[in-house]
Symmetry: C2
């Protein structure tokens, strides 16, 4: 079975999904649906408002629009006509989003796999797994090394900053503590450091550093390091969107410690989000083909459905 | 719902399961079924041949007998009367075991969750997940630091060895290579070192070391280090059964590397195997309560079923 895919929204995520669909043998790309008229792509581009016309040509629609307003506004509209997958990342509203998608998807005999990606997504799966293993689990999530858009915007507001970028990195001593079973009560602030790269005139360096490290909420509670670099270094080393992190769970079993860790080290956050999304898109198409309908979170998808191999092939392989 | 549990076989694994069942709020222990008449436990002990009499008292039976012959000989007999979970670890026969259990479990309206634990088990899940994410994934599994029974037996055969133990440890340079995306073609030999602790008379040390490191298949192909220690150190430091390892998968996404890693660091192999088994035992009882029947590998179980929390509670929590 080749899965015919549509993509809604052509930002970072949509481009990452397009690349994967074109690289994978079990998918083929029908086209991209956008609010913009022209996109820089070889794929067929359609106005997003015409999407429903193509409902019979598409097995799974990848909703690659923003989580802030696009998904709440538009996702159920797509679930009416298509089996969908999204990366909705508003953690406190996943239940609400799932419920809204469930109602529409079920009524229209579609499947909607919601809030995939890595966090929510793969990290959610691993948090649930870790917490299921021990009578008294201790669990910590660390994020980074990761580019933070909000904090980068904040440093760029400081007077004299020509260019600036901020990365969040897990504090190594906090990771060590978590792995050793002593992560209980570690705050997000203790668990993370902030590192900032700035291009600015030498005369401004001391003031800029001081203004950044003392910025309330954003930097003041954290261990923050500010590096001043040249324009060339900035161009060369700070154009990417790295991210990743660790979900660490420990438990004590009759006096014996056990530590369970899931880690991601990603040179590109949107590309990897797309990779996780595409695997769950495969699962969505298969659930639909199995005759299922309604919404599924990543917690509800049996893992074999993510694989390009069949269950029989997986069982016969060395993988299991 | 409290899950009423039975345990078949009271070795390391069975004792680990007993501890967990007694520690967890959602389980209660009915009793232990053994081939031996008396066991050192406060639980009720029954002759294993009487098990079927108690079929209505037990929601899930934990098959904690050996994989070598007990599971192939006995597991289907239990699947006739009980919903079961096992840790059958003969990787090349998982498909066969699943098929045999499926037939019997389905015919008797029971659920059988097979080959749980950590490898097979959690490592299998993570191998499938990792391989599902990239067009051209590169994947390596590393085992250890882990006590190896077979290799420990082998060193104890060397003349003059009073006590001896062998640990397999992943080679750090091989782990680094795998994380960086260069794990393709790494052999099991390159990826692992062997470390041996021996108690022996000083006069024998050189000869013993030489005999061990040159032992064909067991040690010769590996980087092997032999440490001679005192009887007291052996007693103090080498009574445990540590194990663990790493499943590392990398992929390239439009020129951007991504590394996905699942790691276990376990002070006690059987205790953690029991922890994974109990989580899948919970899933088995729930699958049965949902009206399902037949055999399931860990790849076929939706992750939320492992959790002591309900799906609704998980969705409303910060976990997802
Ligand atoms: N779950 C996770 O792990 C995870 C991780 C990362 C991100 N996410 C989610 O993924 C969502 C999408 O991320 P993204 O990086 O793809 O966001 P983005 O690049 O800002 O794109 C979002 C939308 O904006 C429009 N757009 C993009 N570039 C544009 C441009 N140059 N001019 C005008 N419009 C443009 C596109 O829609 P049109 O084509 O219709 O114009 C696109 O779908 C985020 O909202 C985030 O919530 C989830
Ligand atoms: N999937 C995984 O990740 C994983 C990891 C580790 C182990 N495993 C599997 O788990 C299986 C069980 O491991 P285990 O460590 O529990 O093995 P074990 O301690 O050797 O116990 C196996 C069986 O031997 C009997 N036995 C135990 N102690 C005995 C004693 N002192 N005298 C006589 N009989 C005794 C018990 O049956 P009775 O009570 O009926 O006598 C017990 O069920 C292994 O075969 C292995 O395949 C799987």
């Amino acid at each position: 079975m080749t899965i015919k895919a549509g993509i809604v929204g052509y930002g970072n995520l949509g481009q990452g999904v397009e690349y994967l669909i074109n690289s994978l043998d079990d998918f083929e790309l029908f086209g991209i649906f956008s609010r913009r008229e022209t996109l820089d792509t070889d794929a067929d581009v359609y106005p997003v408002e015409d999407a429903a016309k193509y409902k019979d040509d598409i097995d799974v629609m990848f909703l690659c629009v923003g989580s802030a307003t696009d998904i709440p506004d538009q996702a159920t509209g797509f679930a009416e006509h298509f089996t969908t997958v999204d990366t909705y990342d508003n953690h406190s509203k996943v239940a609400e989003h799932r419920a809204a998608m469930h109602k529409v998807a079920q009524a229209n005999d579609n499947v909607a796999v919601v809030s995939t990606g890595w966090d929510p997504g793969l990290f959610s799966m691993n948090r649930v797994l870790g917490l299921s293993l021990f009578p008294e689990p201790v669990q910590n999530t660390f994020w980074g090394k990761g580019l933070s858009q909000g904090h980068s915007d904040a440093v760029r507001q400081v007077q004299g900053v020509k260019r600036g970028v901020q990365y969040t990195i897990p504090a190594q001593d906090a990771i060590d503590q978590a792995r050793a079973g002593n992560g209980q009560g570690l705050s997000k602030t203790q668990a993370h450091d902030r590192i900032v790269y700035i291009v600015a005139d030498a005369a401004d360096h001391d003031r800029i550093r001081e203004e950044i490290v003392s910025m309330p909420a954003y930097f003041e509670p954290y261990d923050t390091t500010v590096h001043f670099i040249s324009e060339e270094e900035f161009e060369r080393d700070h154009q990417g969107a790295p991210h990743g992190g660790h979900v660490i769970t420990t438990g004590n079993l009759q006096g014996h410690n056990a530590s369970v860790e899931f880690s991601l080290d990603l040179e590109s956050n949107p590309n990897f989000t797309a990779a996780a999304m595409v695997a769950f898109g495969r699962a969505a198409a298969r659930l639909k083909a199995q005759g299922q309908s309604g919404a599924f979170t990543v917690l509800e998808v049996p893992p074999y459905l993510l694989s390009p191999q069949s269950l029989d092939d997986l069982l016969k392989s060395e993988i299991i």
